[in-house]
Amino acid sequence: MSTLSELVGKETIEKVLAKGRSTGAGFSEIFIEDKRSTSAGLDDGRIEQVTTGRDRGAGIRVVHGETTGFAHTADLSEAGLLQAAEAAAVAAKQGSGGVVTVALGGVDTHPVNDVQILPNEVPKTRKVELLERANEAARSIDKAVVQVSAGYGDSVRRILVANSEGVFAADDQVRTLFRVSVVASGDGGMQTGYDSMGRTIGFELFDLYDVEELAAGAARQAVTKLKARPAPSGALPVVIKRGSGGVLFHEACGHGLEADLVGKGASVYRGKVGEMVASSLVTLIDDGTMSGEWGAIGIDDEGHHSQKNTLIENGVLTDYMWDYLRARKENHRQSGNGRRQSYMHLPMVRMTNTFVINGTSEPDDIVKATKNGVYVAKLGGGSVNTASGDFVFGMTEAYLIENGEITEPLREGNLIGNGPQVLRDIDLLGNDFAMGNPGTCGKDGQGVPVGDGQPTLRVKSLTIGGTAA
């Protein structure tokens, strides 16, 4: 696999950036991507197929005043790129601004991820074997397991970003993922279990983690839920197990701290920097440099180095997350959060790995201190309305807490809360930090890989959307 700077020469890039500014625009940018991916799926006891994919192209962005023009092309020849640059320039501004030249230095890199075994150098047979092992492990847990589906995926994403302000940077992003879904059937109908693992590393993922253990866990989750009772309806204390509830922060405040939403007045956290927005127990970090984690990147998709950013410190809001446009508009520094799904998309402010650092409580004590409530061992996805702060997230594995002890399993449901209120209501924070499952964060139709994490914690009141009175 040739590097992108071999595929598209520096002189061509300089011409494209100059063409982008030819209608008088102040800023032009080229984002080149070459992504190879392999996936394999098992379902119903069969390897359904192995799929390989190739996505390669360039997106060209031109900014004139407050207007962004964007065009993309799968044609990486100089002619193809110049044509796209012209389309983007015309989109940003009708008219002519004369001749512009752009000169770039050497390619900048900022590697944060350490890849041992490139997945595209691993025989496909070994990838398929993992699926079969997971299938057997899940089915061996209990005869109530009636269906197993497992998926393997890897991708090698090479990006090169250059802009008219001299940014010229490249990154290789290698990700490997494995997931298992299980259906169990009993007298009361069907239940499901799910687990996944993924990191920004290569095939050594499977030296670090065991697919059998992952599959067995998903199977136990489904089988346990066969005996589950309906979740409660109404407000109760909720204890969230370590590494399973990062999505709570992602939704309760992460999105609301994205500077593009704040800038449009569509966030409950607008104008709150320096104010107490959470319990003093909470310190929230977004860290793109967290080596090997699912949201780790060397550079963001605007060519800026990834960074470790403190968003909330001991309950006080310290800063938002920024991309190029929003930072320029508000004369702020960029924070390495300008990301995009692919060369076919515009970048915007996105999270990387977002997590709450350790508190001091023993996790067992947090459960013991809760007379009646709900213990959530696995959260599903979530979503938030950043303007009102109302957010939901699903619980896929949860139990009742009765008299300080974890007791019966509960059926699935959503929890609902208001971000600023929930952050204030975190009253116990454990000392057992862990990162959670690999996630895909969706915003404005684009998905990007993100990580999250937290220690075991308690929210003193959340509304549980079950059916039991």
Binding site: D44, F70, A74, D75, K124, K264, G381, A387, V392, N414
Partner: protein, 447 residues
Amino acid sequence: MSSGNVLQDLADRIVAQAKPGEQVEAYVSRGGETSIRIYEGEVEHFVSAQSESVGIRVIKDGRTGYAYAGTLDESVLSEVFAEARDNVQFGSVDEWAGLAEPDGVAKVPQELWNEELAHFPTAEKIAIAKELEKLTLATDSRIRIDDANYDDAYGETAFATTSGIRAHGRENGCYVSVGTLADDGDETQTGFGFSVGRTPTEFNLGRAAREAADRATRLLGATKPQSKRTTIVLDPYVTAQFLRVLSGSFSGENVQKGRSFFAERLGESVANPLVTLIDDPTNPLAYSATDIDGEGLAARRNVLIENGVLKQFLHSSYSARRGQTRSTGSAVRTGGTPGVSCLAMQLVPGTGTQEELISQVSDGVLIQMVQGLHSGVNPISGDFSTGASGLLITNGQVGAPIREFTIASTLQRMLQDVVAIGGDIEWLPMSANGMSLVINDVTMSGA
């Protein structure tokens, strides 16, 4: 053999390279979109994008391999074909593996391509989005705009297979949307409105603006309700989202693999007798109308539930072969092998306006928006729980706004608990229609 169509010719050429013993399918597509976002009277972004892709499926001795690329560049095609062939050896032998075969069902002629849209001037597209922003701002002094958008897209697809399928289709469409923010002191609520058309001349900008403003302002001052069992009236847009959640349960493949709670229920009552649900991509009013499915077979009208009784499951050629039945033209492409899905779900409307339905409810909630259908609904177990906001209904009248609550039941029960279906049918920019729907006995969780 030239069809005079570039994509069809390309698909034909790929399939002509099949070796003895190989079944090959080529699936070729290209498309483009214009996306214009207006903010404070100016173009915030203008995206003009073209994309293309090729997918090649190879089946040999019951094993399947697949590869794709996001380009139709000749130099990449041979690589894609070689990868698909290489991938065959890793698939399991599946006695039902195979390609679709021509089944004699004729395509229903539809006008999915609009020349006027294809040549609509860019400057007018921008003007439409600006007009929508202006109209929305003018509705109410408490309204701010999050964004006002004009979007259009076109797509063209061609299939060819060694089993004799040759199919080609193209379509285009456009819509406008506006996101609103309504402020009252420290409180902000949000709303949205949209309008869909085969051409921009079909848009109803005034209605989109009014709905976007109403949705946001109606929620100002909303409080968290007490938990209780209640009756809900779903807004048409919410009904459409509810229908989409049910889609997978009608998939014959999910039935065969033990992932549908409808399995073993054919011919039985699964819903209130008021409910008749069809999947009809041949209805030109449906936003997702199409004349071919994801395997190149003619799309067709399929009755799913008739007067409450489960009539049939949907099939691709794979699930049909496995279930010893015929494809219902319901194949969809999301990854490699075709899956099975509803293409354009349509609940048959009842009579009455939303107001008339509400007037029959003594104590309930009008559900205006839902949040978290992807995280709180399990279509396999049927557990249903979603965040919501809306208006309280007392003695047949809507009253105070409420928010930050959930509604919960199971999908199985909700279908039986439908007590009224409105006649206020709406065709929405999604693969289901909507109308007001009244459902009894759900749990509302709040304070």
